[in-house]
Structures are given as C-alpha cells and as structure tokens.
Symmetry: C2
Subunit: 678 residues, 2 copies
C-alpha cells in the first residue's frame, strides 16, 4: 500500500478498503480487510466488540501485576456468561445456610459463658433456653418463607423495608445488615480458629494470624466468582452435618446403654467458674444468656437475600432450602444442648477449647472422630464467613445502584464478582479480628442486635405490604409476619437492654452514623445528576476556536513539541514566558527569532519570582478581552522513568494544572515528552 | 465599543486600540488604552512586567492561607531589592559569629562530662585542654583568613574543595557541612533551652516542646529574609559577650580580693559522680574530652561561608570579623574554664543546670545578674542556631545550582530567602531534637566530626591551590593552610576513633549516603538535560492536525462540552463509547442521531466490563493505521466542590489519564465542567 498523506485515512471502524489492481482489465475490485479482528470483532449495527485480547497489558510492572492477579483471581469472565452462574438447592444450602447451621457450633457455649456468672448450677437453664430459641427460629423461618415468595428477585431486609416502609427505614435495615455481615465474618472465622486450637493447642497464640489468613483466602476465593466458591465449599457443610448428627446419635446411644459416664471437669475449671459465680440468677442474666443464644438465628436472612442466585424457580427453591436449613439447624442445636446438659460439660474458662470439642472428646475420646468433628466445624464456619462474602457485596451493590454507596460497589470485576465490596468486607473483618483478638465471646455482644433489627424491619415491611395490598390469603400472611415482627422486636429490646454495656451501644451508634453517611452520599449523587444533566442536546455547530496558549520555560525539545502541537490546531497560538531573569529572556527572544514558525512570544517579567500568579493574571487579562472564548493551555511535561524522579522536578507544573483545573472556561492539554535516553 | 465577532480581537500585549470618532471631520484618531496596567506594566522591548497585584489570590481558602502566610512571612520583595540586603561588620558578627561565640556556653561543660568518668580529680585537665583547643582555633582561624581572601564570593568548604580537589571531594565536604548545620541547630537550641531550665527548673519536662517552638520561630524569622534577622538578633550577641565578660571580670576580682570562697557541690552530686568514676584516666578518655571540647571550633566556617553577605569590600570585612570573633571566643572560653577550675565547680549529673549557670550563681548569687547571664546565653544560642538557617539554605542553593540537590533548593521565595532549604533544615532539626530529647551531651558526639572533615577538606584544597598557582606569598600561604589542614586532619582521626561508638559512626555512614544521593541526582539532571535538548530549533511549519478522540460514558452536559471543544479544533473529531450494556448503547446511538453535530460515534462493546484496556487497544488500532499522526484524547471531568467528593466518583478518569500519560504520541486535554449548583 502506498503512503497516503491525507489526514483522514484512519477508519474508526477499523476496516481497510484495499483496492486491488487485477491482472486482467475489469478485474479490479475493493476488498475489505480487518487487520484488528483479533482484538475487535464485529457486533450489531456496526458496533465493535472488544475481545479478551484487549485486556492484555503490553509491558512493564503492570503486566507482572496483571499476571499475579490472573493467577490468583482467574481469567476474566465475559458478561454473557452471567446467567450460567446459578446454584442448585444442594449447593445453595451449602453457600447460604452454612451461616445459620454453623451457629450450632458455638450457640450453646455462648449461653453457658453468660450463665456461668451465676455458678455452675445455672447450666440447668441451657436446655429450656435452647427450646425457646428454636421456637423463635420456627416463627422467623415461617415468616421469611412469605417474604421469599413476595420478593423472588431478592428478599433482602433492605429491599423489603425500603419498598414498604420507605427508603430511610430501608437504610436502617441496610446499615444493620452491613454491620451484621461484617461481624458474621469475624465471629465465624474466630469460632473456626477456636475449633482448630481445641485440638492443636500449640497454635492458640497464633490465632489472630490464622484468622487473618482465612479471611485472605476467602477474599481470593470470592474474587474468583460465586460458582466456584459453591463448588469448593459444598462438601464441608454436609461433612459437618453428618459428623455432628453422628455425634448426637452416638450420644443418645451412649445414654441408652449407659456406656459413657458423666463428665469430670478439671478441678481448676470448677474452682475458676465457682469463684467467678455470684450464685445469683437474676432475670437480667437469663435475658443475657438468651441474647447470646439468639446468635443462632443469624443467617436466616442469607437465604432470602440470595434468592436470585438459585436456579429457577428461584423463590420455590429458596423456600425449600430455608426450611431444610432451619430443620437441620434445630436438630443440631437441640442435640448439642441436650448432650452438654446431660453429661454436665463445662466451658473452658480460657477459651482454648470449645464446648463442642469437649463434648466430642468426652464421648469419642481423643481419636480420629474428634479430629473429624473439629475439622468439619472449622470448615463450615469458614463457609459461614463465606456467606457474608456473598451477601455484603450484593447488598452494597444494591445500595450503590440506588446511590447510597459509592458507585464502585456496583461494578462487577473481571470474574463478575463485586470486587470493591469483597475487599471492603475483608478489610473491616480484619480490623475486628485484630481489635477483638479473634475472641468469639468478645464479638458476640455486637453481633445479635443488628440481625434482629433487620429481621424486625423486614417483617414489619411485610405486615404493611399485606395490609396495603390485601391479596388473597392476606390475613394469614399478615398474622404470620406480624407474629414474626413482634417476636423479633421483643428480642431487639432484650438484646439492646441486656447487652448494652457489653457492646450493643457500639452498634446503636454505628447504625445512625452509617445511615447518615449513606443519605449524604445519596444527596450528593442526586445533586450531581441534576448538575450534569444536558442543558440541550446540541453540539454548537459553529464552535469558536479556543485561544491556545503555551507557557514555556525555555526552548527545549518538550516545549518545541508543545508548540508544534499548538500550531497544528491553532495558527494563532501564543507562547508565554514568565521570568525573573532579564538575561534568559533576551536569549529566548533571540532563539525565538531564529526559530521562525510564526507563533507570537510574549515575555512577562516577574520581579517577585512568582510564576503561577502572574501567568493566571495574564490569562485573566486575555480572557477579559473576550469573555466567551475558551482558553486552551498547552503544557509540556517530561514523562519520568521512575516515580521518584518526580521529587527532583519542581512541582510547578502540577500546581499550575490544579489551579487551571478550577479556572472556568479553561482547558488544559498535556503534551508528554518521552525522553529517548532518560 | 461595538462587539467584534472576529476571534483575533485579543491583543497579547494587553493594549486596546480605540478608534475615536471626533466631533469635527478630520479629528478621528487612534488611542491606545491599557486596561490592565495595574497588573502588567510595560518593560523593555515590549515586555510586560508583572506587578505585585498579580500575586493576589482572588478568592477561596487559598486566599485565606495566603493572608496568614503574608502576616507570618511578610509581603513579597522584588528581586531588584536584593543588593540592599547586606550586613555591616557589627551585624555580620552577630549573624555569623554567634555560632562560634556561643559554643563557650557549653564547651567547658562538655569536656567535664567526659572527664567525670575518671572521677572529680580529672577536672584538673579542663584548663590544659582549653589551652590546646584555643591554640587549634588560632591555627584554623589564621588558615581561614587566607581562604576568605582567595574566595571573596563565598569560601564554603564545598566550593573550595570542589574547586581544587574535584567535585567528588567537594560533595564529601558538602555532605559533612549539611549534617553539621543541622546539628548546630539541634545542639544550640538544646543548649539554649538548658540555659532557661537552669533558672526555671519547672519547665525542664517541657524542654522538647520549647526547643521545637524555638525552631519554629527561627523558621518564620528566616523566611522573612536575612536583613531583618540580622537586626532582630544583633543585641543578644553583644549582650552575651558583655554579660559573660562581666562575669569573668568579677570572678578575677573575687579571686584577687578573696571575697568568694570555693564551691561546695551538693553531696548527692559528689556521690553520683564519684560512684560513676572509674578513677582511671586513660589516653582515650583525654582524647574524648578533647573531642567534646573541640565543638568550640564549630562556626568558624560560618563567616567564610557568608562572605557575599558582607558589605563591600566583602573579603576584608569578613576577615576582620573572623579575627574579632575568634579573639572574643577565646577570651570567653579561657575565662570560663579558668574560673570553673579555680572554684571547683561540678556539672549537674541530671543536666538540669548548666555549668555556666552554676558558676554565675556561685559568683553573683541567685539574683538578677544570674538571670541576665542565662537569658543572654539562651538568646545567643538561638542566634547560633540562626546561623545555620543562613548557611544550610545557601549551601543547598549552591548544590542545587550545580545539580546535586533538587532544583527547589535553588529558588528564592517571596522574601528572597531560600524557602525550601529553610523548611528542610527546620524539619531535620526537629527530628533530631525529638529523637535525642533535646540533650546537648547526647548530640555532641555526632556534631564535631562533620565540622572537622569540612575544615580538613577546605584547607587541603587551599594547599593544592597555592601549590598549583604559585601566586606571590604562596610559600607562606601554603605553610599556614598546610598546618591548618594537618591539625584538623589529626582531630578528625581523634574524634572518629574516640567517639566512634558514641555516635560518630552514624555520621560516617550518613556522609557516604548523602554523597551517593547527590551524585545520583546529578547524573539524573545531566541525563535529563541531554534528553530534552532541542533536536532542531524548528517548529514544523505544516504540522499535521492530531486525530481528536472523545471517550464518552453518556450524553451529559460535561461530555457535550467536551464534544463542543473537540469540534472547535477538529471537524473530524471522533466520539468513542465503551460499554458492557447493549441497552445503554442503543439509547446513546438514538440520542446521537438527534444530537446532530456531525461527529462520528463509535460504540465498542466490552463484554469483560473493562474500560481502560479496550479503549487503549482501540487507540492502538487507530494509531497503527497512521503511526505518525498524534492522538488528542479529550476527557471531560466534573470539578468537585469538596475534595472528599472525589471518593464518590470512580477513579477511572484518573487511571485513564495516568495510562495515557505514558502512551507515546498521545496528548490529553482535560475539559473541566464547573457544575452550576453542585
């Protein structure tokens, strides 16, 4: 092909029309060549479609970073593949119900840790409290079955409360949920680490590092995308369920045959726990124990939140999964509480062993079954934490879509995951783990309140929905959701009152702060939206050319290239030299004459050595002669080879750019100079 | 005046030619109006001269900041007034010799603090050591008189060593001096604070804060400019000289009349100092005591460094000042050492009182004369620190001029002071004060080495100069400078060996690091210089217009303005929309048709949701069709009202700009959008 000097030989559609001169006359034809087809394919209406080739970073440290990233996170997934990333019921149970089911690993123990204040005798209350909590779970689960049906596109408390009680109430639910999800990660990972230290006491001092490492693994796993995390984590849930059910079955068998005697705790534990006991069992203490046990209900929300991730029919599958999860959980929780009460298990005052591991050791000895139970527990708790890694980013994306959180939370990453939400959750959880030293008991008081606030608001929303819509069966629905709302509202009051000083106060401060922040973000986005709305859908057909100004410090190659660029778009471009040195000005004037080229040079002497002030005032003086005409300031800048090179060049260009950025009617063009040998 | 639609009605020389239509025929004439005369006056050859009006910041927080700055630092001074800022001998003695003279306030004490290790008996060595140090001072001062004469434009060790021994040796001297100046500030301010705590023990716990406050005051004073600091600080130097001379005179009178008995130290001090004493007086200890006392020679350099700040004839005035300073210092140092030895004064083991204050209290009682001596001491030490605030920035500016330090160090601020150097010195001194808790004894071991390295290199340079030039009197000059170089070289070895573990090692590491750093900076600047040298002094007369590309996310007002700008400079501007959403693409295509305006829109679908990768590859694809043509990428950006607004907008534009900045042949123009109601 012969070179063509015409400036418009570039085809924006990346096609080249090649005129072939045939061998015989009349054979000439035009052939369309698409030299960039590997990067840009043809789409509808002449659109171009970028292939994954365009994601390759050509060279440099960014490429190395990209490779590490690709190895950790996986190759990018095209948006088209989104539909396929759905979960079967079996997988969904593993992904969404593990949070709820795994609570059985610590719910009994957390009740005991409160009751011990009243002495070992108070442990007789463990079984009655367990029954009450299971009853509450039954009410809430039944109530949520309705919600899932009503909101097949995702029954998050945020959506249900916003929809029926207005966005401000929805934001309260959202704030409570965000806190809840973060605590789910911290509590579950802490409990998972506790399951490990129960059988490997040597790693107890390393528990915080271990917990942070688990969060890091979960982060990477989730950045890879939801389907894979479902596959990876399915086995542990069922392993835990089978292992603990087996333990409970063996416990009942042992009771029936009398083959296992009662538990004999270490004398030091009894002494420690008796001495700490006040011997008084007040109502407040019972309520506190109940509040700690109510942690068992966390995770019910998760299933309804995740309805759209189910295979169709989404709402029906989600409902079935919810019921299955609740029944499984209740069985495990009741069984563990019963056996612990029957055999007289005590909690370890140092938190080095969990109650579940003491029970398993008592029943099956220090053998492989104990190890199986503990490993399964650690794995399902990790999976529970993983639930939040699905929910937190999804809720954040809803909030971002509605303009209540920064937009980044709404963007899907290379692997279709909401990367910003995943990373934010991991960071918050690590902070909690470090501050609370990965102690479940220290985290629990913060945990329950948020969950029950969200429950109450969601179910109250459903009550209003039934009342307003009066669809068939509304009376029954209203009754079920009303009972749920009432129950959880009572629990909110109980938790807030009984755990106030222990940590609930923090949540009661954080939720309003979060809500105000989200509201402020919303106001900002709305104002911006109005501010940038097009005033008229017209591009001025005869736009006036801008006045082009090139500030130059001296005649070096970068400024010559800036001048060349300026001349190429405006024949009347103006060079400005600000100086405090008459000698350099004279030299420049001389060079300028030799240069030719036709552009005018204005020299402004600055006896106060300032550069930016006089330049800006000079632009003002030009502008005031013709206020409507835009100014285009062309700056030349040497591209540094290393970031530290920037320290050696004075920051005048940067400061000037910043000042010009805030100047009305002024456009800045940056002509980078890539020094050949720098 | 009637509106004129022609685009070139703007006059770059800020003159307006007004055509007046007279009342009678033939009366019409052209009048030149200069509406911007208050901001830009007329200079030579049609140059404009910026008035101080151009320095006024029109509005906003920057203006408030500017006002605070103006109140602290003063109004800007024009470069023309530079010549007037010269010092008389009397003022120069105050400004440049205070460093040296003020050493008498602590030199005796620092020797004693070393000797005390060998027990109180070792204090008999104070007087002999003082005599040796005064002898060394005489040698060095005589030697420097020659240097000042040879280098009337400033006899800094850096210049003398570079000039005669080559730039690398000069850099070693420079590195040593920069460390020395920083330590002068830290040591002098610490000693000044000690003079205050001696009479007001209650402020002892606040000494670090006090020291930092003094550094802050010095910084502000020096940013105001050199003449004023000379005026402010002249009185204290002479006050100190008179007060201490009076004290010494009274001491001799008391000895002659026997009216004051020997000093009786507190029993606890004697016990503390006897118990710490090993009772052994080795050679190493004597050398250490000498090294500490040698601190008395710091500041000799200051006078020769500051030769250009003297009134003409500079070199003669500087020489006279140097001699006067040396004689004054020797008198004070000998007097104090003699009286301390005679009366048997002991140093306070807790460093709460200085030896000078104990002497003054012993001689004159706890009365007003004690307060006078202490206040004068504190003031002259502050002034000594001020010496470095003149020297460090000046040396830095020499180094910056020669390309060994970042260029900023070479720029004069509003008040003709080298602001960057002043601020850098203050920051370094504050770090030293905080780390060493404003303790003179802790800082001294780092101090002396740098000074004597610089002395040695400077005088060795002079020796070589005499030898090479053989000017009249070269034999005598060579002898004097040779003796000086030899003496100080011996002291370098003594200090390095005897103080190595106490802190000299740090200096021995820092100097090579500084030298390497300065050399690396020099190499960088030299390479840059070569890289940006103009390849030919020509602006292409027929420069090809760039291909203008406007990436748009949607059709809002900011992008419409970007498109308008693009159209105003290029009729074939191209809009590019990268999307992963077919629906928004269709909407945009529809809006585009309604928009008209003639620019072409290319839609690139990005199924992997990435924006930057596909855009850059698309630019590559365009570029490869015509590799020589420049690309101009026009970006629209909403100007945020508050800095935190940036957190809410995704950082894509910034990341894109960064990537484009490093792309060859690509110019980025930023069209800022000032939202009317944001």
């Amino acid at each position: 092909m012969e070179p063509d000097p015409a400036p418009n030989r570039i085809d924006p559609h990346l096609e080249v029309r090649e005129k072939r001169r045939g061998l015989r006359p009349g054979d000439a034809y035009v052939r369309i060549v698409r030299p960039f087809e590997s990067e840009f394919e043809r789409g509808d209406e002449g659109q171009l479609v970028a292939t994954s080739e365009t994601l390759v970073i050509p060279a440099g440290w960014q490429r190395s970073l990209g490779r590490v990233r690709g190895w950790l996170i996986g190759k990018p997934i095209s948006s088209e593949r989104e539909e396929h990333e759905r979960l079967t019921k079996l997988k969904a149970l593993a992904v969404f119900s593990s949070d709820n089911i795994s609570s059985s690993a610590y719910a009994t123990e957390e009740m005991m840790r409160v009751l011990v204040v009243a002495g070992i005798g108070a442990f007789s209350l463990v079984m009655p409290l367990t029954l009450v909590i299971v009853a509450v779970l039954a009410i809430v689960a039944t109530s949520y079955r309705q919600t899932i049906r009503a909101y097949p596109n995702g029954a998050s408390s945020y959506i249900v409360a916003s929809d029926n009680l207005g966005p401000p109430v929805g934001l309260v639910a959202a704030g409570a949920l965000l806190i809840d999800y973060t605590l789910t990660v911290a509590v579950s990972v802490s409990a998972g680490v506790a399951a490990i230290t129960s059988i490997v006491p040597g790693v107890f001092p390393l528990r915080v590092y271990l917990a942070v490492a688990i969060v890091a693994l979960l982060t990477i796993g989730n950045l890879r995308g939801v389907r894979e995390s479902g596959t990876i984590f399915m086995a542990p849930t069922y392993l835990y369920i089978v292992a603990v059910l087996g333990l409970i079955g063996f416990g009942f068998f042992a009771i029936a045959t009398g083959m296992v005697s009662d538990y004999t705790p270490p004398a030091s534990w009894v002494a420690a726990e008796e001495s700490s006991g006040l011997g008084m069992l007040g109502l407040l203490l019972v309520l506190r124990a109940f509040s700690s046990g109510a942690v068992a209900l966390t995770g019910v929300e998760a299933v309804s939140d995740g309805v759209p991730a189910f295979k169709p029919p989404e709402w029906r599958n989600a409902r079935t999964t919810l019921t299955a999860a609740a029944v499984l959980f209740a069985t495990l929780f009741l069984g563990i509480s019963f056996l612990v009460s029957w055999f007289g298990i005590l909690p370890d005052p140092d938190e080095q062993q969990t109650v579940l591991s003491i029970l398993a050791r008592h029943l099956t000895g220090d053998g492989p079954y104990l190890v199986l139970v503990q490993v399964a527990t650690a794995l399902i708790l990790t999976l529970a934490a993983n639930t939040s890694f699905a929910d937190f980013p999804r809720l954040s994306s809803f909030l971002a879509r509605d303009g209540f959180m920064p937009r980044q939370f709404g963007f899907r990453g290379d692997r279709l995951a909401f990367s910003t939400g995943i990373v934010a959750l991991a960071a918050l959880a690590v902070v909690l783990l470090v501050v609370f030293q990965a102690s479940v008991s220290a985290l629990i008081p913060l945990y329950t309140l948020g969950v029950f606030v969200a429950f109450t608001l969601s179910q109250t929303g459903m009550v209003r929905r039934w009342w307003v819509r009066r669809e068939p069966g509304w009376r029954r629905g209203l009754l079920i959701n009303g009972l749920g709302a009432l129950t959880t509202a009572v629990i909110v009051v109980v938790v807030a009152a009984s755990k106030f000083l222990a940590g609930a106060w923090l949540v009661m401060i954080l939720v309003p702060i979060l809500v105000s922040l989200m509201w402020a973000i919303h106001v900002h986005y709305r104002r911006l939206e109005q501010a940038i709305a097009p005033r008229s859908l017209r591009i001025a057909s005869v736009a006036r050319a801008p006045l082009v100004i090139v500030p130059i410090a001296r005649l070096d190659q970068p400024s010559i290239e800036a001048l060349t660029f300026a001349r190429s778009i405006a024949p009347d471009a103006l060079a400005v030299h600000i100086t405090n040195d008459a000698a350099t000005a004279a030299t420049l004037r001389q060079q300028w004459r030799e240069l030719g080229g036709g552009a005018e040079l204005v020299i402004v002497e600055s006896p106060y050595r300032a550069l930016i002030g006089p330049l800006l005032r000079y632009l003002d003086a030009l502008q005031r002669q013709d206020p409507d005409r835009r100014l285009l300031v062309v700056l030349s800048e040497v591209v540094p080879r290393h970031w530290w090179d920037n320290l050696l060049h004075n920051q005048t260009a940067l400061r000037l750019k910043l000042r010009l950025f805030f100047r009305p009617n002024t456009i800045v063009a940056d002509v980078p100079y890539h020094a050949p040998e720098l």
